[in-house]
C-alpha cells in the first residue's frame, strides 16, 4: 500500500461507485426488461412507456455522438424502430438500457464513419449558429450568450476530434454516467479496453479544454 492509503491496483475492487447498484436501483432497472417482455407479448402501451422513459436519453446521447440534432433524432427513431421490430426476439439476458445503448452506439458509429467526408467546420458552424434548437437562454446577456456559444463550439470541436469509439465511451461515461463495466457491455469489449479508450480520450480533452478552467 502506498503512503496515501491507496491500495495497489492488483486484485482491488473498483473505487468507482458506479460499479455498485442497490436492490432498489435494480428493481427499477428490471422494470424496463419487464416492460419489454410485455411488448413482446403484444402490449403496445408498454412500448410507449419505454419510449417515454428513454427517448430523451437516447436522443441526447446520439446528439453528442453525431453533433447534429436532426440526424440524432433520425437515428433515435431508427433505434426505437429496431427495438419494436426485434421485440419478438427480445430476451432479457442483459439490462434493457445496455441493449438500447448498444443499438444507439452502433447506429451512431456507423453514421460517423459514413459521414466523414462532410466538412467538419461547416457542419459545426451550422449546428451552433443556425439550424439547431439551441435557444438563447434569456437569463444571459448577449455578451454572455456569445461567450457561451464560443465555449460550446470549442467543446464540440474537441469531442469531434476524438475517434468514434473514444467519443462513444466519453459520452456514455460523462453524460449517461455509466460505469466501466456497463460501457464495456455496450461496446462489447473488455473493461480494460474501455478504460484505455476513456483515459486516452480524456488526455486529448485535457489538452484541448483545460485552458477553459
Amino acid at each position: 500500500m502506498n503512503p496515501d492509503g491507496l491500495q495497489p491496483q492488483v486484485a482491488q475492487p473498483s473505487w468507482d461507485r458506479r460499479v455498485n447498484s442497490s436492490k432498489a436501483a435494480d428493481r427499477f432497472l428490471d422494470r424496463d426488461a419487464d416492460l419489454m417482455l410485455q411488448v413482446r407479448e403484444g402490449n403496445q402501451a408498454c412500448f410507449t412507456l419505454l419510449l417515454e422513459r428513454h427517448r430523451n436519453a437516447v436522443i441526447h446521447f446520439l446528439d453528442r455522438m453525431v453533433l447534429n440534432q436532426a440526424v440524432a433524432e433520425e437515428l433515435a427513431q431508427e433505434v426505437f424502430l429496431r427495438v419494436y421490430r426485434f421485440r419478438l426476439n427480445y430476451q432479457p439476458t442483459a439490462k434493457f438500457t445496455t441493449w438500447l445503448f448498444r443499438i444507439a452506439t452502433h447506429l451512431g458509429l456507423n453514421w460517423i464513419r459514413d459521414a466523414r467526408h462532410e466538412k467538419v467546420q461547416e457542419r459545426l458552424d451550422q449546428e451552433i449558429d443556425g439550424t439547431t434548437r439551441q435557444v438563447r437562454d434569456r437569463n444571459r446577456t448577449i455578451e454572455q450568450e456569445l461567450v457561451y456559444r464560443a465555449k460550446l463550439r470549442e467543446v464540440r470541436q474537441a469531442i469531434e476530434t476524438l475517434p468514434s469509439k473514444q467519443r462513444a465511451a466519453v459520452v456514455m461515461h460523462k453524460y449517461e454516467e455509466l460505469g466501466y463495466v456497463e460501457i464495456a457491455n455496450v461496446l462489447m469489449c473488455s473493461e480494460s479496453a474501455v478504460k484505455s479508450l476513456l483515459f486516452r480520450a480524456y488526455e486529448t480533452l485535457r489538452m484541448r479544454l483545460a485552458h477553459m478552467a
Binding site: R17, N20, Q38, E41, T48, N56
Partner: protein, 175 residues
Amino acid sequence: MLSRRDILALAAVGVAVSIPAPLWAQRRGGTARTPPHASRSDTDERTPIEEFETMSPEAQQKALNRLSPAQREKLQERLKRFNSLPPQQQQALKTLYNRLHQLPPERQDAVRKAIRKLSEQPAERQQAMRQELRDMTALTPTERHAHLASRDFRARFNKKEQDILRDMSPLLPDR
C-alpha cells in the same frame, strides 16, 4: 409467370391482410406525459392516481381493458399496495409528486436520477443525507442555496453526495 387472375388474387390477399394493420392504431398509442399544470400546488392538484380513483367504475374498467390481462392485474396490484399505505404517507407522497411535476421535465429527470443515486449509497451515508434533507426543510430557499455552498456542508459530504443533495433540493418545501 403470373396470370391476370393470379395478380388480382394477390391484390385481394394483400388488401385482406392489411385490414388488421390499423389495429395498432386503434390501440392507444399515447405518448407524452401529460404536461404539468402551470400552477400545480403541492397539495391541491390531483395526481393521475386520484383522477383514476374518482372515475366511474365503468370508465375505470374501460381504461383497464385497454391493458393486457397481465398488465391489468399488475396495475391493480400496485394501486392496491399504494392505497393500503397510511393516509399520511399517501399525502406526503402526493405532495412530493406534485412538487416534482412542477419542475421542467429535464429537472424532473435530474431529481429522479439523484434519488436513484441516493439509494445506491451505503446505508449510513443514505441516513446522513436523508437527515440533511430533513434539516434543510427548515431553511428558506436562499438559506438553502447558501448552505449548499457552505464549507460545513462540503466537509460533511463528498462531491457526489453534494451533487445528489443539490439535485434533490427542489423537492423541499418553500418556506
